[in-house]
Amino acid sequence: MNSEKPVIDVDGLVVEYGRGKKKVRAVDDISFRVHQGECVGFIGANGAGKTTTIKVLMGFLFPRSGNVSVFGESAGTVDSRRRIGYLPEVALYYPFMKARELLELYGGLHGLSKTQLGEKIPRLLETLGLGGKSEILLKHFSKGMQQRLGIAQAIIAEPEALVFDELSSGLDPVGRHDLRSVLLELKRRGRTIFFSSHELTEVEALCDRVIMIHKGKIVTRATVQDLMKPLNVFEILFEIQDEKEMPGEVAKHSPVRENSLYRVLINDVEEYSRAVSALASSGARIKSTSSKSRSLEDYFIDLVEKREGKK
């Protein structure tokens, strides 16, 4: 556990919508922390409570109970927002403004000087694939272009932490690739990144840690490595004369006999290679080896279905 003061600290957060009988608990007593330099994915189905949690982080919604702080400041205060770059779930920008003007507005609100803005804006637009579009009115921007501009406004002040609600919504594959490059660069530079996404491949590629939320409650929290480990399955089909000669490296994975063959499934790649070596030196005949990797998405769907009682 990281002993440093967390960048994001959510403790017993409860958020409710509506009043009286129509009251709906959108987030139900969740707690988590995001530390400096971490990249954390916040995953959940629609209506799970992701956007609600992020809105509380930004001070757009007020919790029914619980404490939420950002950089040690209460969520929503001006000081807490000074160090955050935020991309909203639905990014629409003033259609009557030009891309440059919009970034001047948002960058200026973050305290960047005119000179700094003059240097940064063309570079940022270029990086995000909007080079040459600075003087075009935003009403002529496509959804994908707006999303790229949204990312530009979020990172223009080079904030210490980034909070993205639905990271790549509206982006085409090229846009996703560009965004991934930008985020990996920010991650390399030690920025803290917390984002929700439906694109679990993105989460796999970028995140150190994953928090899964379902119906307002956190159902899983793990490092991507730990989460992925059981999802990678290596299969060995082999033949052995005497079961008593089964190497310990294989036996501990409980091989199953199927006619004359044994089938063993191993999650860890190192244990898998040890098992293969042991079988080879014990004189067993290896018929085939294969790997079956389940994605984070499969895992997530399984988890949701189990929770819903469908499995």
């Binding site: 809105k55 930004m58 001070g59 757009f60 919604l61 007020f62 001006v78 000081d79 927002r81 000074r82 955050i84 770059g85 935020y86 991309l87 909203p88 639905v90 990014a91 629409l92 920008y93 003033y94 009557f96 403004m97 003007e101 001047e104 507005l105 948002y106 200026g108 609100l109 973050h110 305290g111 009115l137 949204g150 406004q153 979020a154």
Partner: protein, 258 residues
Amino acid sequence: MRSLLLISKSVLIEGVRRKEIYAIVLFSLILIAGVMSVDFFEIRGLTKFYREMALAIMSIATAITVIVLSCRQLPREFEKKTIYPLMAKPISRMIFLSGKLLGVLLSAAFCFLLFMIVYVAGTLYLGGTIPWMHFAEYIYLQMLMMTVLSTLGFFLSLVMNLDAAVTLGVIFYFTSSVFTTGITFIYEFMGLGGKTVLVVLNYILPQLTLFDLSGKILHSVQWPPLGWTTMAALTLYALLFSGVYYLFAILAFRRREL
């Protein structure tokens, strides 16, 4: 301060780029053309009346522009969700609201300025004179009235939907002068309870007619400009009402969930 100016600049850009202000100016040009045609037909006795009408219509058009602009600022931000990236920046809700208010006032000033250029040009073209001191006081007081109306517009838009806020704002503007004049007229005929209600209303509702110096512009020969004490009192009067409406707007917006 810079945040305030940046937000107000965005409001002004919207006003200018959406071309609504130009539509109003075009309307004023038609109006001035009407005044000129009156002179063209040498019905000189009516010229003054038409100029009075021109000033009144300019004032009304600017007031309606201000009401619509102020009422729609926040609902449009909520509807289009443009408020999220803006409020994610390190600015307080008060700065956001103040920036919007300043933007509306700058738009109103821009609109008024265009109107006045057209009006002055038309008057001079017709051979009339402009009593500049009266005219400056007129513009200043009109801007004070716009401040009252815009703060009211912001407040209304935070406690009701856009359509209702605009409707109520416009009704308030048109009835305030009739209502406050009516109060003095019917006061004598009311019972004690009625009189009390009227007195309360008299102090609660801003009397917008106080900000209209169009009569003085037209009859400047007979009446001198207002003294500074009167102007200061009117300024305080406008700031009091604006302050109260603005405070209500801040209170309504402070804990509003976005």
